[in-house]
């Protein structure tokens, strides 16, 4: 069809269309990547599940910020081992070592330290294993961190007995009173410093573990190799730990940093792409479909049908929309498809009114009369003769409406009226704003979601702008 080719070459002639198409390609590619890599129930399963994010650093800046800093910030570290690094017999029992090492190079203490074991397995009902945790510092000194004793099994379940398989055992060392006592004796033993448990807690266990002590009892980070070990004392040689992790809370994390709950913003923001695309395209598709359809029917059929559609459209078109949109989303919202429905419901009328007036002028064209004269049915005339007349305009409106839909959804999300089962950029901004990200200067929480909203909206605005000369013949370059 030559006019499609002509229209396209007209469209393609401007740079803004090319940029728009490029942006769209990226948008679609990222969305496809997200949908194929993240689970579809990412929202409920991970994002809105605080337990999942416990071991992530809270409000951490993105990792790449270190490039710009002279004083590097400590990265978040998670160490793990799943196989014993050594085994030794000991008084009829066995000792299994699980060692992980970490090279501390930055001039900071970790924010927190968490030990985690999962899948503890043992066979002797009367003699369950004991796990002791130690750390050996770069200066060769060793600190006992924690002891985990497992109770004997009194039930008549059959071995092997499995602990912490559903959920790992998590030991938060910061503020742990057992560790504090151990540190009191460590300080006294090694440095001859007497500090009570409350004193230790006040300084912070992380500082003592990762610190070398200065002259005036201040702690500076001790650079070098740390070895964390879990020591399993067991009665059966087959007893063991499935996985041992050490988490050292850092100040920077990942590509996009984390929020106040420790959620990895990168994953949340990534998930926002397909949602924005679905909202934008879905809403504009439905709105233009309904709006143009009713506009054509209203304009061509006329009479009572026209009166009815126009009264209805007029009413909706005559009210300030945002307040009602908010009210409706509050009442019905909370799910993506309901938000789409509300946005469509309030926005089809304006298109209907314009399409109707276009149809009225197209209806006056003689080729419509010619079609009547050769006996074409109403449906045929509407589909074959009227629709093509308004199609370019409707298509352009659809493109132009897409950013509106994206912006409207993010606004509703920002008001806390978004879909509660999946993260959207608006919701991330809402949570950030509610948690004072703006006042605390957490820029990495505010900047990217908004930028992505602008990006996806601007994509469609650019395409729409590129289409303007195609749709508005007055601006055409070719004649």
């Amino acid at each position: 069809m030559s006019f499609i080719r002509e229209s396209f070459s007209e469209f393609w002639a401007s740079n803004i269309s090319k940029i728009g198409i490029l942006f769209l390609a990226i948008l679609v590619a990222v969305s496809i990547y997200t949908v194929t890599t993240l689970p579809l129930d990412f929202g409920v399963r991970y994002w809105y599940n605080p337990v999942y994010w416990v071991d992530y650093p809270k409000s951490a800046q993105p990792e790449w910020i270190n490039i710009f800093l002279s004083e590097k910030l400590m990265s978040h570290v998670e160490l793990s081992i799943s196989k014993a690094s050594g085994i030794k017999p000991y008084n009829n029992r066995f000792i299994k070592y699980y060692n992980v090492s970490y090279n501390h190079e930055c001039n900071q203490f970790p924010k927190f330290i968490t030990l985690r074991i999962s899948d503890l397995l043992f066979y002797r009902r009367d003699s369950p294993p004991i796990v002791r945790f130690y750390v050996t510092r770069p200066d060769g000194r060793t600190i006992e961190l924690y002891t985990l004793a497992i109770e004997t099994i009194s039930s008549n379940a059959t071995p092997p007995f499995r602990y912490f398989s559903m959920e790992p055992k998590r030991i938060l060392l910061s503020g742990d009173i057992y560790l504090a006592r151990s540190l009191v004796s460590f300080l006294y033993r090694e440095f001859n410093i007497s500090l009570g448990t409350s004193g230790v807690l006040e300084v912070g266990s992380e500082k003592i573990i990762f610190g070398s002590i200065g002259g005036d009892n201040t702690f500076t980070p001790l650079i070098g190799r740390y070895v964390f070990s879990a020591v399993l004392i067991c009665s059966d040689v087959n007893d063991g730990i499935g996985m041992f992790n050490v988490v050292l809370g850092g100040y920077v994390y990942g590509l996009m940093g984390t929020d106040v709950l420790g959620r990895d913003l990168f994953q949340g923001l990534l998930f926002g792409f397909p949602i924005a695309l679905i909202i934008g395209v879905g809403v504009s598709l439905l709105t233009t479909f309904i709006g143009a359809g009713l506009g054509i029917v209203s304009g061509y059929i006329g009479g009572r049908v026209d009166d009815f559609i126009q009264r209805f459209a007029d009413t909706i078109n005559n009210i300030p929309l945002l307040p009602l949109l908010i009210l409706l989303s509050f009442i019905f919202g909370g799910r993506l498809w309901l938000i789409i429905f509300v946005l469509v419901f309030f926005n089809w009328p304006s298109l209907t009114i314009i399409v109707r007036s276009m149809v009225l002028s197209a209806k006056a064209s003689q080729f419509i009369e010619a079609a009547v004269a050769i006996g074409a049915s109403r449906l045929r005339i509407m589909v074959k003769h009227i629709f093509p007349q308004v199609a370019p305009f409707v298509f352009a409106q659809m493109i132009f409406f897409t950013p509106y839909a994206i912006l409207a959804e993010s606004a509703l999300s920002f008001l806390g009226l978004g879909d509660v089962t999946m993260p959207t950029w608006g919701q991330i901004l809402e949570y950030g704003f509610k948690n004072g990200a703006v006042f605390l200067g957490y820029w990495w929480w505010i900047l990217p979601p908004g930028l992505f909203i602008v990006y996806s909206a601007v994509t469609f605005v650019f395409i729409a702008l590129g289409m303007e000369p195609v749709v508005n013949p007055r601006l055409r370059r070719w004649k």
Binding site: I16, D314, T315, N318, I319, P320, L322, P323, L324, I326, L327, L328, F330, I331, F332, P403, L407, S410, A411, F414, L415, G416, L429, F433, V438, F439, L440, G441, W443, I446, L447, P449, G450, I453, V454, A457, V458, F460, V461, F462, L465, R474
Partner: protein
Amino acid sequence: MGLGKTLALKGLTLIVVLISVLLFTVLIIGASGLSDRVLSSIMNEELRGIRQKLTTQIRDPEELNRAMDEIKQDLVKAYGLDKPWYARIPNMILRIVTLDLGSAREVQTFTGSNRISDIILERIPNTILLMTSALIINFVLGLVIGPRIALRHGTKMDKAISLYSAISYALPTWWLGMLMILFFSFKLRIFPFGGMYSVPPSEDTFMRFLDLLWHVMLPLITLVLALSGSWIYITRSIVLSVAQEDFVSVARVKGLPEDLVRRRYIVRVAASPILTNVVLGLAGSIAGAILTEIVFDWPGMGTLYYKAVMSVDESLILALTYIFTLIYVLARFILEILYVVLDPRVRL
């Protein structure tokens, strides 16, 4: 048909719109069961309070229950919960239409009144101060820049401004507001984080005024940055379409100076569509930019409406919906009159 009749007809249509919107709002709140749920939860709250008081006076649990049942029945009637939700509608609408707006449940004025009319009267000036001045600035910018670039369309300047308009269309104002706070308030510390006055407010009237200016600056700049683009673009396209009319060439060939052609033959003809945008914009601005007001913690109509929705304060929601629509409808009516003044073609 006479002019009066035309206007009367338009007025009638707009009143129908007004009533339909109110009815629609009430129906939605009622039919979704929200109204009943909220009313009964308020009533139960009240009952709990009464029960606590009564337990100190009536010892016998059975007697207490009996007394409570009686009180409950009274309350059910008082709240209108004995009848279905739709039975409450006619009364509610009649009250609202006669501007008896009732009182809000939680929101209060600065002086502690919870009459809705007081609250609205306190809030409207705040919104006007921010939104309306932003609108006027944007309108003036549009009117100054729009025709200029329209008459030089295709130039670099035109392209740059079109690009700016495109991006600003895609820019959520409220997010821009957050960035502004982040940069100017958090980083540079030259503007306050939000609100209208410093706490505690200054005693001196002039200082208070300066304080107000200082507070209004950031939201105002935000609104202008985010919205002026569309204003310029709209003005540009209207002017562009008028500039291509034959009578403009005729005016040029008549030997009229270019600025006169522009003023009398382009802007003057483009005035009524531009004005439509302005008047509707003004009317819409009363509803406030809800999100921007929230971001800047600006005590205007937008934040008020948000609070009303979030606390399901039915009377407040209705009153605000009514006021917003009323203003909008009035603006439409004023527009009809303005069209007649501006465009002789409308006169029948």
